[in-house]
């Protein structure tokens, strides 16, 4: 059995590698292999996989990439993820990527899709729009056709038809992966001292670059190793992190929250792996099944319109309750309109339920963690010392 340290070291290597060596090696292993990059927050990776291609989650350049060219593309008041993503492209770190999907998350990422077309005219680029109307016969029908158009575009990249059976098989593989991802989240919520979030985070990040089958095996290895590991339980405060669904925090920020006395028992870091809340059926029309799962069984996040005002914040409250969280930390990237405009509504909803919360902002390259430790530590202390529970 693999040791936790061995798995963590492997994941850390993948996380640190801004040249995407593992993906390049996968592509070079067989002629004709193709890689499709995608940005947060959700794309149906099943369709990419069904075409024999590797979905590559591109979550910016992180804390170690020096952004020089990327800054020249943007005004000062734009978040960092598009800058570092442009930097990755301009410095040829993504020269092996055959296609790029830009999901409907915000205006900045949407416009990055247009920039990508101008910068890299030979790469397949698609702005992946999703419906904000969740009626089967309106948004559902629209989404089915969008998926068909996406499939057609992907067929152009992989050079073959993507059959229904291919998609059904991929749906099954991603269902398995999602179950395992959820198992890690459940395991961490139950015994957070055995699965530190700094480990869980890079384990999930590994799923952005590895083939899904390998990632599923890695998760199984981690679960077994973490269960066997003897780690002391601390009297830490259980918190949910909210608002980090697009530009990712530096790993040091996650570590700082933990060092400040908090167990992160849920988060929204890489929602693509947990977007769909139920298994996608593997029988029947696979495109219709993917669409129905999106319309009826997808997570709540700022990227989606909430048609029912009375439901705003219910998902977050439900998460806090089901994870027995004692508080919520809103941690959003600077200049992130979706997360930061959502925050006051979610914060009010939490206040009405007497769930403590604090907020701070970060950039993917934030370096000074002392204020984060102080804020998170004070938050944990106030809950532990003054909470009535």
């Amino acid at each position: 059995m693999k040791e936790v340290s061995e798995i963590v070291e492997y994941c850390q290597g993948l996380y640190d590698d801004l040249e995407f060596t593992a993906v390049r090696e996968w592509k070079d292993a067989e002629p004709g292999r193709r890689v499709i990059g995608y940005l947060p927050v959700y794309v149906p990776r099943e369709l990419i996989h069904a075409g024999g291609m590797l979905p590559l989650g591109i979550l910016g350049g992180g804390e170690n990439l020096e952004v020089i060219h990327g800054d020249a593309y943007y005004q000062s008041y734009i978040c960092r993820i598009p800058r570092s993503t442009v930097e990755l492209a301009v410095t040829n770190r993504l020269d092996f990527v055959d296609g790029m999907l830009f999901p409907s998350i915000c205006d900045v990422i949407r416009n990055l899709s247009g920039m990508w077309k101008l910068m890299l005219p030979d790469v397949y680029v698609r702005y992946f729009d999703v419906p904000q109307n969740y009626r089967d016969d309106i948004g559902g029908s629209y989404y089915v056709e969008e998926l068909k158009e996406l499939k057609q575009g992907l067929e152009g990249v992989c050079g073959r038809k993507i059959g229904d059976d291919d998609i059904r098989r991929s749906i099954g593989i991603y269902n398995d992966n999602r179950k395992l991802v959820n198992a890690v989240y459940d395991f961490r919520a139950k015994q957070p001292w055995k699965a530190p979030s700094s480990e869980v985070y890079i384990l999930m990040r590994a799923g952005m670059v590895l083939p899904v089958e390998e990632h599923s095996q890695l998760i199984q290895d981690y679960l077994a190793a973490a269960e066997a590991e003897n780690r002391p339980m601390r009297d830490n405060c259980r918190i949910v992190v909210q608002g980090s669904f697009c530009e990712q925090p530096p790993l040091s920020l996650i570590k700082s929250i933990e060092l400040a006395g908090c167990y992160i028992v849920d988060d929204d870091y890489m929602l693509v792996a947990r977007w769909l809340l139920e298994d996608v059926p593997t029988a029947g029309d696979p495109i219709a099944n993917l669409a129905e799962s999106f319309i009826k069984h997808s997570t709540e996040t700022a990227a989606k319109y909430e048609p029912d005002g009375s439901r705003k914040g219910k998902h977050l409250i439900g998460t806090a309750r089901s994870r027995a969280a004692e508080g919520v930390i809103f941690a959003a990237p600077s200049f992130c309109d979706p997360a930061l405009l959502d925050r006051p509504m979610l914060a009010n909803a939490l206040s009405r339920e007497n769930i403590p919360h604090i907020s701070f902002k970060y950039a993917e390259n934030s370096g000074q963690m002392q204020p984060i430790r102080e804020q998170a530590g004070t938050f944990a202390d106030t809950i532990k010392l003054w909470s009535e529970a």
Partner: protein, 173 residues
């Protein structure tokens, strides 16, 4: 000697004068909506459904116009600060915060009279993602009915049949 022209010397286009007159007229109507017995719909300029709104004899209240009008009159700084005191981040869209701050100050129109709360928030989501969050925030404040029209973004610069059909189905809904 100042190089700044006297305001009286500025020659305005006829269209500018007409626009000013139309906007002032709309504010006069809005601030008299109660007396006129008219319902008010807040909606955006892009992707607006004026024809539909007019069919129901409703009036338009356009938050972006309110925000820009307040900015031109140097009023929005205080409104933005008020919104930030209410918990809004300092690095998000100031149109949104100017609007929310304006509400907190009584939604005063340029004619000095208060504008009524909307009866309907008609969210025309035409590509600016912030629009969606903006109207969720207004709904949170006003507690009134919200209807959304999602107009897909033309990522490839083309309107597809699927996009058109999606919009038509929403309009029928």
């Amino acid at each position: 000697m100042s190089t700044k022209p006297d305001v009286a010397d500025v020659v305005k286009e006829r269209s500018m004068l007409m626009q000013k007159e139309m906007i002032a007229g709309n504010y006069d109507q809005l601030t008299m909506a109660g007396e006129l017995g008219k319902k008010v719909s807040s909606t955006y300029v892009p992707g607006n459904l004026n024809e539909l709104i007019m069919c129901f004899d409703m009036l338009n209240n356009l938050p972006e116009i309110n925000a820009i009008n307040n900015a031109m009159r140097k009023k929005s700084g205080g409104m933005i600060r008020d919104a930030e005191k209410m918990g809004h981040s300092e690095d998000v869209c100031t149109y949104v915060k100017a609007d929310i701050g304006n509400m907190a100050k009584g939604s005063i129109a340029p004619n000095g009279k208060p504008m009524p709360a909307p009866d309907l928030l008609l969210l025309s989501y035409t590509g600016c993602f912030t629009f969606m969050k903006w109207f969720e925030l207004l709904r949170d404040q006003y507690g009134c009915r919200t209807t959304m029209l999602h107009v897909p973004y033309e990522g490839d610069g083309k309107i597809t049949d699927n996009m058109r059909d999606y919009v038509v189905r929403q309009l029928k809904e």
